[in-house]
């Protein structure tokens, strides 16, 4: 009746937020008076199991079968479901990444278990796990909890929980398990993978610099012959004004829905109700007015800086620091100042 945590991997490396899941898992396990186990599947699983031990797992289930190298739901869910049926953990926990959400939901359905996603706070009372989670696109919070004695499947939001301190040399009991499906029984075949190059994942980023529709006011002249000068100016602003600031801070580039819908930057960068929900340490909103849909995606940022030429923009009501002015003058000055002060 332990707590079982998914250590997500990609290309044989652990996805770093998995250690946050072990941190949350340890906390829940301690409160339930039990221990925390982990499971790692695919390439390099045994080596990653050692790291899981250092981050607090007392037991690790390992399966390094080749069918599990690329994440595919069928073999992953079949194996997790068999582990859950055999060991009946009280809680199965993962970070709510694409893989984490899909895998835990599938296994919850297979075992007719309860499932709660996107936890931002966790508490335990007796046998009940009490979960605080955002609903209505971040406009409200709700309290949810397990009913009955079965396994609860739980995903946590990235950056909401801290990893345990790494204890170098700590070891765990390693249990090697066999895959449930062999390749001939798996209908999904991976054809190719195209990595997103040079981008920092928004949900993992500690610092985000975001641009809104106003980036199209770029004073730079679009070259003759471009089909849409406004789009060119906006794309140039993201590349040569917003991104350099994000780069000097080691941060990621975000955008408002208005900027994405206008074709200024790809959807992968959208923050807000129909984009990504983020909670970085620092969020710099450049030429973003702060519509309620955008606020829903970034209101939990620790420090918000708003830069906008309109002093009445709603974004200033939620910002810690506000700068009224032209982003095309302020941001280059800010980038230069950070370079100087951070010694870059």
């Amino acid at each position: 009746m332990s707590v079982l945590v998914f250590i997500e991997t990609f290309n044989g490396q652990p996805v770093m937020t998995s250690w946050e899941a072990l941190g949350a898992g340890k906390m829940v396990a301690d409160a339930l008076g039990t221990s925390v186990s982990a499971f790692v599947f695919g390439e390099n699983a045994s080596a990653i199991a050692k790291q899981a031990a250092e981050f607090g797992a007392s037991k690790v289930f390992v399966c390094d079968d080749a069918t599990l190298n690329d994440f595919r739901l069928e073999p992953y869910a079949a194996l997790l479901t068999s582990l859950v049926k055999e060991h009946t953990p009280k809680v199965v926990l993962a970070v709510g990444t694409n893989r984490g959400r899909e895998l835990l939901s599938a296994s919850a359905a297979d075992t007719d278990s309860g499932m709660i996603t996107e936890a931002i706070e966790l508490a335990v009372e007796g046998n009940t796990v009490k979960v605080t989670r955002p609903v209505y696109a971040g406009k409200l919070l709700s309290h949810a909890q397990n009913v009955g004695d079965g396994t609860l499947f739980l995903t946590i939001r990235g950056r909401a929980f801290k990893p345990n301190a790494q204890n170098a040399g700590a070891s765990a009991e390693v249990v090697t398990v066999s895959p449930v499906l062999d390749e001939s029984a798996i209908v999904t075949k991976v054809q190719s993978f195209e990595a997103e190059v040079g981008t920092v994942n928004l949900t993992d980023a500690a610092i985000i610099v975001s641009g809104g529709r106003g980036v199209a006011n770029n004073p730079k002249e679009a070259p003759a012959g471009v089909s849409d000068p406004t789009v060119w100016k906006a794309q140039d602003a993201f590349e040569n004004v917003i991104k350099p600031l994000a780069d000097v801070l080691g941060g990621a580039v975000g955008a408002s829905r208005a900027a994405v819908d206008a074709g200024y930057i790809s959807y992968a960068h959208q923050v807000g109700q129909t984009g990504k929900v983020v909670a970085p340490d620092l969020y710099i909103a450049c030429a973003i007015s702060g519509a309620i849909q955008h606020q829903a995606g970034m209101r939990n940022s620790k420090v918000i800086v708003a830069i906008n030429k309109d002093a009445e923009a709603p974004i200033f009501k939620m910002a810690r620091f506000g700068l009224v002015g032209d982003i095309f003058q302020i941001i280059p000055a800010l980038t230069a100042e950070f370079k100087k002060r951070l010694g870059k």
């Binding site: 739901l73 893989r99 959400r101 899909e102 939901s105 599938a106 919850a108 359905a109 007719d112 278990s113 309860g114 499932m115 996107e118 955002p134 609903v135 209505y136 696109a137 406009k139 409200l140 919070l141 709700s142 949810a144 909890q145 397990n146 009913v147 609860l152 999904t188 991976v190 054809q191 993978f193 195209e194 990595a195 610092i207 959807y267 992968a268 129909t274 984009g275 340490d281 620092l282 519509a291 309620i292 849909q293 209101r299 420090v303 918000i304 800086v305 009501k317 939620m318 910002a319 620091f321 506000g322 700068l323 009224v324 002015g325 003058q329 302020i330 000055a333 800010l334 100042e337 950070f338």
Partner: protein
């Protein structure tokens, strides 16, 4: 060839959603809209049904408020709408939702492809889609950004799907459940004729008895809704020339140990 999609009515994206003194969630006079992520799944359903000269059906699970989303779907061009409603069914319980959804797909009988939007903004989750696939025992392909090819004769489907680290192309087997991302298509607006036709449509309501199933025991529940804690943020305006503003801001961020 039959493509089925699921939708629901959710408060307008610009609405202020609040918890009242009685603990109930309300959004004042604001209208409901089709769950914003479902605009893409509705459009994709219409496109895929057209491409294969097949049928399209939209299903909502829950009370009468979801008729609005169904009528919007019909107005966009989906052919048939069904609502599943039963006093013993809580559509916010994903296990119950998935059991009912799978029951409806089985009742329809001839379905090849089920398309969900990425998530529902009200309950804030996507688990019901994956659970539906598992209850059906079908292939599940999530976060699809492009349907590359579907071969109904050989029952294969090839899609591009998104992960945090990039885009994976996979081939799998029909029947399948997929969830689609924003950007997969440009959702159309309902036409005037479509709206008129939809307004006259009567939407059949199926009970759990009609599906020949009963609701599963509840394994997780929402016990309360809360308004967001009011953040006491006092904005500090930084003035001066752009260079002065930049220097002051950096100083303050370093002082506050944000960096």
């Amino acid at each position: 060839m039959h493509v089925v999609t699921f939708t629901r009515s959710t408060p307008d994206t610009a609405a202020k959603v609040e918890v009242g003194k009685d603990g109930a969630v309300g959004w004042g006079d604001a209208a409901t809209v089709v769950n914003p992520w479902d605009e893409y799944s509705l459009e994709e359903t219409i496109l895929q049904a057209e491409n294969a000269s097949g049928k399209s059906t939209v299903i909502a699970i829950g009370g009468e408020m979801h008729n609005d989303a169904l009528k919007h779907s019909l107005a966009m061009g989906i052919e048939n709408a069904i609502r599943i409603d039963d006093p013993n069914l809580d559509s916010t319980d994903s296990l119950a939702y998935a059991t009912a959804a799978a029951g409806a797909i089985k009742k329809l009988g001839d379905v090849d492809l089920v398309i969900f939007g990425k998530e529902s903004v009200d309950v804030g989750t996507d688990q019901h889609a994956y659970m539906t696939a598992r209850k059906l025992g079908w292939t599940m392909l999530s976060y699809v950004s492009k349907i590359v090819a579907i071969d109904y004769a050989n029952k294969t489907i090839t899609v591009e799907k998104m992960y945090e680290q990039g885009k994976q192309t996979v081939t799998s087997q029909l029947p399948a459940v997929i969830t689609v991302m924003k950007g997969i298509n440009e959702p159309r607006y309902p036409s005037f004729i479509g709206i008129r036709k939809a307004s006259k449509a009567t939407i059949p309501v199926w009970s759990l008895g009609d599906l020949g199933i009963s609701a599963p025991a509840k394994k997780a529940e929402t016990v309360a809704f809360m308004n967001l804690p009011t953040k006491e943020v006092q904005v500090e305006m930084i003035t001066g020339t752009p260079e002065e503003q930049a220097a002051q801001l950096v100083e303050k961020l370093l002082e506050a140990k944000v960096l």
